[in-house]
Amino acid sequence: MNLITALTSPVGRKVLTGATGIGLVAFVIAHMIGNLSYLPGPEAYNGYAHKLLSLGWIFYTIEILLALCFLLHAIIGISIQIRRWQARPVGYKMYKSAGKPSRSGYSARSMIFTGIILLGFLILHLISFKYGPGVAEGYTATLDNGESVRDLHRLMTEKFKEPLYAFGYPIIMILLGMHMRHGVWSALQSLGMMSRRLSPYLYALAAILGVFVAVGFLFVPLYIYFLV
Amino acid sequence: MGSPVAERSQSPRLDSKVPSGRLQEKWDIYKNSVSLVSPANKRSHHILVVGSGLAGASAAATLAGLGYNVTCFCIQDSPRRAHSIAAQGGINAAKNYPNDGDTIWRLFYDTIKGGDYRSREANVYRLAQVSNNIIDQAVAQGVPFAREYGGMLSNRSFGGAQVSRTFYARGQTGQQLLLGAYQALSHQVSMGRVKMLPRREMIDLVVANDRACGLIARNLITGELERYAGDAVLLCTGGYGNAYYLSTNAKNSNVTAAWRCYKRGAFFANPCYTQIHPTCIPVSGDYQSKLTLMSESLRNDGRVWVPKDPKDSRAPEMIPEDARDYYLERRYPSFGNLVPRDVASRAAKKECDEGRGVGETRLAVYLDFADSIRRLGEHTIRERYGNLFEMYERITGDNPYKTPMRIYPAVHYTMGGLWVDYELQSTVPGLFVLGEANFSDHGANRLGASALMQGLADGYFVIPYTLGAYLAGTRQSDQVTETHEHFATVEEEAGARIDSMLKNKGDKSPTQFHRELGRLLWDHVGMARNRTDLMSTIDAIENLKEEFWERILVPGSADRYNKNLEFAGRVADFIELGSLMARDALRREESCGGHFREEYQTPEGEAARDDEAFADVAAWEHTEQDPALHLEQLSFENVHLTKRSYK
């Protein structure tokens, strides 16, 4: 079959959403662990950031791949929502979930909202940090080996001292946890990695992962606001 | 009493066309000598298949596969919903996989004997012969029959047989076989060889040049009357059990297509042969719209009993062994709970009539699994009957793992139907009748797991040969189109009938009439019949018919979806059929199979057959006055007629 047709078919769309989602989950986990390197001090954090940049083409390839993942994931996610409206033009006057074994809890039903908020957040986040003040604006730090690098540690400390960031960010991270709670299970199901026996375990794994990531991300901003 | 001798002779109008030769070779002889239709000619023939159950779907798929142009009609919204889907227990075949001594001969013999020697030997033998091909075909289609751990097909035993020859797919064998046939049909639809027309009801047959040449169908969505011309019409429209109003048939199961054909010249054979199934969930109230069958396979592991003392009102689990009467095991020690359906049903009726019935209505007996659960474990029972137990609990609120089921007989299947010859052709040339709609293979009583076998045998393996024989004998010049004047006439008549029901604006709904008819038939043309009641019932039905046309109320209009209009037309036909059922039951002055005349029983209360006078098929012809009787004498050259005994 034609690859493009295949990938835009209902199954193809889900497979792509799942695959890009898994890529994004991997990124999010890496990002979260990276964030935790704030805790030992500026040397660790700035060093980690610098090391990433110095990976050169590998870094840029990953960046492009991630950007593609985000883009595809968002476009397909929105197209699924549009098809959903088309598929049921007259809605129910009364509708309820039938309960177990339905997986359509809050996380599942809010995917499009949490997704759109996360997309918005991502843009703001890139403006604040990736494209935020750098060496040119005086955010410079010197590493132990004498290298002069961008002082992301200071930027982060300043940002999370602002209440809006300190409390806004965690809320977004809870939404991210929710998105992953359904997303991880859904991706595994979309990629066909599910059987009747595995299903309950993978569903639980998705929940654990969601909580893990949300908590991991919550930690640093609250630490900065209250303890630094 | 007694019928005039003249009536007892073979009617010249009923040529069974059974080939000569030894019983075992008849079908081969037929196939060897039958005319074939060349592939190029097949394309030029258009076949109309009415109904999409096991018989209809298998016939349509097979004929299309052979190259015929097929149009298939069904009243449901999809061919997959035909009532064959509800058959639970299984399908018989003489595979002898269990190596327990089964043969084609034994399957033939059991079926003839089970039918109380009122079926045609040659037809039944052919049925047993092709039974094995059906299983092969179904497995090739992906029907997930139950299997053993070694990967081989599993078998179970069923009422009326001493071998395990029943193939099954949980308690949903009919569903799986129908879906197999439906998928085969869909395959042909995708190839463009079958045109499938759902939500169409055949409301009349068109006969021209003394041949069936088409039909009028009502489009159940738009209400339009549509004309379809074809070289042959295959009627696969099921049985008429819904004449009783309450039966295990689906709400839409009806006799209309067959009855219209009867009125156009097809003879109706043995209408009094109706099967009352022994294991159904009892009636709970007046609002009851249908009865639910619990598969007969339950009798393999369930024991039927009633309390010995009619006044014993203890909960069934509390009644000790010595206070229970396992009446089937007591009366029929060698077959026990596995006696044929008619025997089991009458025995239950007897217990209840004598006051030992259980439950609120006292019209039920217990079917108890406690022993089997002890012997085999709950797991095994769950595996065998899990879905049936769940269904029982959903309907009654009782858990059959803990407390015995309550069961009572209900109308389930009709052995009678349009008369057909060996080629499945009715008395109207070009009109073939398959499956439950014909009368052919089950005699006066059908054995469990044989309906699925017959429907599929007719559709997959019989009609492809016999239809060719008919078509090879027709000429191009016999073909008519929808513009033929007969189509206009018949359409007009059908339309007028619909209009008169709608214009009547009476005060009684179709359901009310149906319920009244059902009560009359159940009480007097049900499990036990007698001359006096039958005579009065014929009069009562005549009155009901008059009342129908005076008081029928049908809401809405004819140009749209209108369930009440559909039902009204069907009830009108059921009323006429009911009268013929009673007439046929009155004529048959003997007891055989599903037909039990109280006047004709042995001192022990068993059915007393009269082979001298009634080893025949009664085929009724529609006339302007009373229906005319024609007889086909049954000759038994291979089996010895014995008194059926399951003791």
Partner: protein, 247 residues
């Protein structure tokens, strides 16, 4: 018991519909939900009103003809039960129950609660079969099939095609219906042969009918009268990718 009903009434596919209130004063807990509607219809008929149209046939949960949204849930509140086998003992005296048709663009309303589900037949026609003609079958025991495999195939084969999965799906997806057939046939050696063609054709047809995408809500499994598992949808996707990779 007294039961109040709010029933969707709609003249035809293009007409606007609305919920209309009715009361059935003499309901019984032993009635099925469809018998309650029968009683309502006899009542309406006696009052000179038009009865409520709804599809039903076998009334024993196997033909798949019936299908209603009862109190916001496809086939009503009882698990693994088609609406014809839903009994009134699931409700309380005085309850008000909303009854709507199954809604989806691919299931247009014909009248009142009757919808057109022929899209399902077209999905099966796309390739929901084994391409075998009559007479060509080898002996039924020629290919042994492990019991577990046959049992699993049967679990998927029990689909009754009622459309509850579509009706309950927030996206209006037909994935469970389509996947059940693909899984059933794909598990068996007889059907596995043409699995790649089957999955492509059926998925494309599902798309063409205008069903929504699957978001893995598993709401379908929760309302399925036969409890068919969404693991079937996962296996449909595996089969699809396998087909894609093998060209």
């Amino acid at each position: 018991m007294i039961i109040n009903l709010r029933v969707w009434r709609q003249e035809g596919p293009e007409s606007p519909g609305k919920l209309v209130d009715y009361t059935v004063p003499e309901a019984s807990e032993h009635m099925s939900f469809l018998e309650l509607l029968d009683v309502l219809n006899e009542q309406l008929l006696a009052d000179g009103e038009e009865p409520v149209e709804f599809d039903s046939d076998c009334r024993e949960g196997i033909c798949g003809s019936c299908g209603l949204m009862v109190a916001g849930i496809a086939h009503g509140p009882q698990k693994r039960t088609a609406v014809c086998q839903l009994h009134m003992r699931s409700f309380k005296d005085g309850d008000t129950i909303t009854v709507e048709p199954f809604r989806a663009r691919a299931f247009p309303v014909i009248r009142d609660l009757v919808v057109d589900r022929s899209a399902f037949d077209r999905i099966i026609t796309a390739h929901g079969y084994v391409s075998v003609t009559t007479g060509s079958a080898p002996d039924a025991n020629a290919i042994p099939i492990p019991k577990d495999t046959a049992d699993e195939a049967m679990d998927y084969a029990t689909c009754i095609g009622c459309g509850a999965c579509v009706a309950a799906c927030p996206n209006g997806s037909a994935s469970l219906f389509t996947a059940a057939k693909i899984a059933h046939l794909g598990l068996l050696p007889q059907g596995e042969v043409e699995s790649p063609q089957r999955v492509t054709a059926m998925v494309n047809q599902m798309d063409a009918e205008g069903f929504g995408d699957c978001s893995n809500y598993a709401e379908c499994e929760a309302v399925c009268p036969k409890g068919i598992s969404v693991a079937g949808i996962a296996s449909m996707r595996r089969a699809y990718m396998k087909g894609l990779l093998s060209g």
